[in-house]
């Protein structure tokens, strides 16, 4: 029986984020927390394959108690079990510490019930680092397929999966042995609209809550602020771009407009420097 696992994160809905102009930090008040959208698609894909192959789907997250809601959403999509790794000791963890916490949690789950594939969203929309998935895969020694857009096959018997990943120049079809890890693009699966009984089940579901001591005894030097070498020196909003200048073809004629545009570009110091480099 296949056992799929998805590692997820609850994030602030960054579609309506505001930055405090005085402190430069994000205003969290009134910003709804959601399941990271890439993670949601990863869960949807895992749920599809669980349904297709018959088996089990476990989700895991590290976060505050309120992250329970994100896990309930995973249950709604078809997960069977959810683990919330939650402890004040984890507060301030960067991607290095977070990948340690999640890797050890997944290792624990795997010991109880062998995990065949670990799914991640390609990145979280709040930090956009795309580091936690690869970090966990390395810690667990799993082959990793990043930017997965489609799973063509998962063959438990012969121990391989066929995964299509997006690259800058096109697509690659990767055949990987199991167990394996992947980070998912949204294209990997559509979010299902759950049946009402499944939604009700998820609303009543309480995830297992794991602390920093039980059932995994974490090394305190590798978690929280102490385990996080990353420092945020400064954050803020980027300056708005200058609006583009319009050069009218009607007024200048086509040739004139092109000439004017080229002239303006060449007089721009950064463009000129770029051309210099090319030559």
């Amino acid at each position: 029986m296949i056992h799929l696992l998805v590692s997820v994160k609850q994030v602030p809905d960054t579609t309506n984020i505001r930055i405090d102009p005085e402190t430069g930090s994000m205003i969290r008040k009134g910003v709804p927390a959601i399941l990271n959208p890439y993670d949601a698609h990863a869960v949807a894909s895992a749920a599809e394959w669980k349904k297709k192959l018959g088996g089990k789907l476990t989700v895991v997250t590290m976060g505050p108690p309120a992250a329970e809601e994100a896990l309930q959403e995973c249950i709604e999509m078809g997960a069977d079990r959810a683990v919330l790794v939650s402890d004040r000791a984890f507060a301030g963890s960067d991607t290095l510490a977070t990948s340690y916490v999640l890797a050890e949690a997944i290792r624990k789950i795997d010991q109880e019930d062998h995990v065949d594939m670990v799914f991640f969203g390609k990145q979280a929309i709040d930090g956009d680092t795309a580091q936690v998935g690869p970090g966990v895969a390395i810690r667990l020694g799993l082959p990793l397929v990043t930017y997965a857009v489609e799973i063509q096959d998962i063959n438990e018997e012969e121990g391989y999966a066929l995964i299509i990943r997006k690259t800058e120049s096109g697509k690659e079809i990767i055949k990987t042995k199991l167990p394996a890890a992947l980070t998912a693009e949204k294209a990997i699966a559509d979010i299902p609209y759950a049946a009402l009984p499944d939604l009700i089940t998820s609303l009543k579901y309480k995830p297992e809550v794991w602390s920093a001591q039980e059932p995994v005894a974490y090394d305190v030097a590798q978690i929280g602020l102490e385990g996080s070498p990353t420092m945020v020196a400064k954050s803020g909003s980027p300056e708005a771009h200058e609006p583009a200048e319009t050069i009218s073809v009607e007024e200048n004629g086509l040739a004139g407009a092109v000439e004017t545009a080229l002239g303006k570009m060449l007089s721009n110091t950064s463009v000129a420097a770029l051309l210099e480099d090319q030559q």
Binding site: R18, P21, G30, P32, Y193, A194, A195, L196, P197, D198, L199, I200, L203
Partner: protein
């Protein structure tokens, strides 16, 4: 997956003020209550000016204030502001009757308050099902026995359904409790901005002593560009809420865009300094059913009760709506409890809901103010001529230095009569009086 049908004692449609109240009351009496809400969470589809009224809140939870509700500021100053195109007369009241304990009204944000209000219902035992739209009813022998949602396997059963679906009352229409869709002459569109301003600046600009003082202001005059409608100003802790509501037919006939109205209001010389250097946090709009009695559906049928905006429970002049919704929600909840005790969910059994509301301000006021929305539409002079006259009259009175005062009074009178003959003005005032007394 369970093949058992989903069965509850009561279904409430919509987790707004009416819905969460009805659910709390029914659950408190031991009934198994499901609240079905289309939004991601309660409050995500709700919006108002606005202030909540203490009497209704403490009626449901006597220890309301001990529960640490998410409120912004108490309303310690309230009244009218009359805008001319470049002037402002303030007629507000503070202290005295307004300085009650607790204060009668509190500014709140629905996106924060509604989830909290729903949590109180959950604590009473109600179960909230979000992200699910109720599309229709389930019938047996012609009687409602539940609802059909938009989800697969989405039928939910209960012998009584309390419909608190809000202003766009499609389910109420589907039941035939009202024979028409929203009337554009009886429905207002309110647009508002929440503008973030440091609390100390709000206090300084509005003359409030500290963050525990706040304002709820109705703004008449230039704000609505002569259309049937009103503006408003409410003080949150670190933000001002400013908006304008006008009827849909007025918008349609004038061709004025809602955002133009709001922008013009915010740029008014008396308003702009209040929001200087503020940051817009929120821009939103919502429909308000202002028809009152004239657009009220029948409130019950076999297996169904209707409460809140869905039943046009709004008093446009007194800015009442949430308190009517809470009060009606409570009575609907109590009626459902009684129906369960009797084991009778017929229209006749549920008709006690209407009797209860008739004994309360809800239906009494709606009946009394039944002519008000028509009055407003037929007397646009209250939106431009009179507010401007009040500005001119007071301005002239207080600057009539070195003028024979007999001439001053003549000038003041002329500033009215040049816009509206005296007998018509007197007629207007009588009409206003009739519209609010209800004769």
């Amino acid at each position: 997956m369970s093949k058992d049908k989903l069965q509850y004692d009561v279904i409430v449609v919509g987790a707004g003020m009416a819905g969460s109240t009805a659910a709390a009351i029914a659950a408190r009496e031991g009934l198994n209550v499901a609240v079905i809400e289309r939004g991601v969470k309660p409050g995500s589809k709700n919006y108002f000016g606005g202030a909540l009224y203490t009497h209704a809140l403490v009626d449901i939870y006597p220890d309301f204030f001990d529960r640490k509700p998410p409120l912004e500021r108490p309303v310690t100053e309230t009244g009218f502001w009359f805008l001319s195109d470049d002037g402002l007369v303030k007629a507000t009241v503070q202290g005295g009757v307004v300085n009650s304990d607790p204060i009668d009204a509190y500014v709140a944000l629905r996106a924060e308050f509604d989830p909290w209000w729903a949590e109180q219902a959950v604590a009473e035992g109600a179960f909230i099902i979000p992200k699910t739209l109720v599309e229709d009813f389930l019938y047996e022998d012609g009687k409602v026995v539940g609802v059909k949602t938009d989800r697969p396997e989405g039928d939910v059963y209960a012998p009584v359904v309390i419909v608190c679906e809000g202003v766009n009352n499609l389910l109420t229409q589907k039941l035939g409790l009202i024979d028409h869709d929203l009337k554009i002459s009886k429905t207002a569109l309110a647009v508002k901005q929440m503008i973030s301003i440091p609390a100390k600046d709000i206090n300084a600009r509005l003359g409030l002593p500290d963050n525990n003082h706040g304002m709820a202001i109705s703004v008449m005059g230039d704000v609505s560009m002569g259309l049937a409608g009103l503006g408003f100003l409410y003080t949150a802790k670190g933000a001002l809420s400013l908006g304008v509501g006008v009827t849909l037919d007025a918008l349609q006939e004038s061709g004025i865009k809602p955002y133009e109205l709001l922008q013009r209001y915010l740029e008014h010389p008396a308003i702009a300094p209040l929001i200087k250097d503020g940051q817009m946090m929120e821009y939103g709009a919502h429909l308000i059913p202002e028809g009152g009695w004239t657009t009220m559906p029948r409130l019950y049928t076999d297996g169904v009760l209707v409460a809140g905006d869905a039943a046009s429970m709004v008093n446009a002049l007194h800015w009442e709506g949430t308190n009517m919704a809470i009060t009606a929600g409570k009575q609907a909840g109590l009626t459902a409890v009684e129906a369960h005790k009797k084991g009778d969910f017929s229209a006749k059994s549920l008709s006690t809901y209407q009797d209860k509301l008739s004994d309360l301000f809800v239906l009494q006021d709606m009946k009394q103010y039944r002519k008000f929305s028509a009055f407003l539409k037929n007397h646009p002079q209250f939106m431009d001529i009179y507010p401007t006259f009040i500005n001119d009259a007071l301005g002239m009175f207080f600057t009539g230095f070195g003028k024979p005062k007999r001439k001053l009074y003549k000038d003041i009178l002329r500033s009215l009569t040049s816009r509206r003959p005296l007998f018509k003005a007197i007629g207007d005032i009588i009409a206003f009086g009739r519209s609010i007394i209800g004769i």
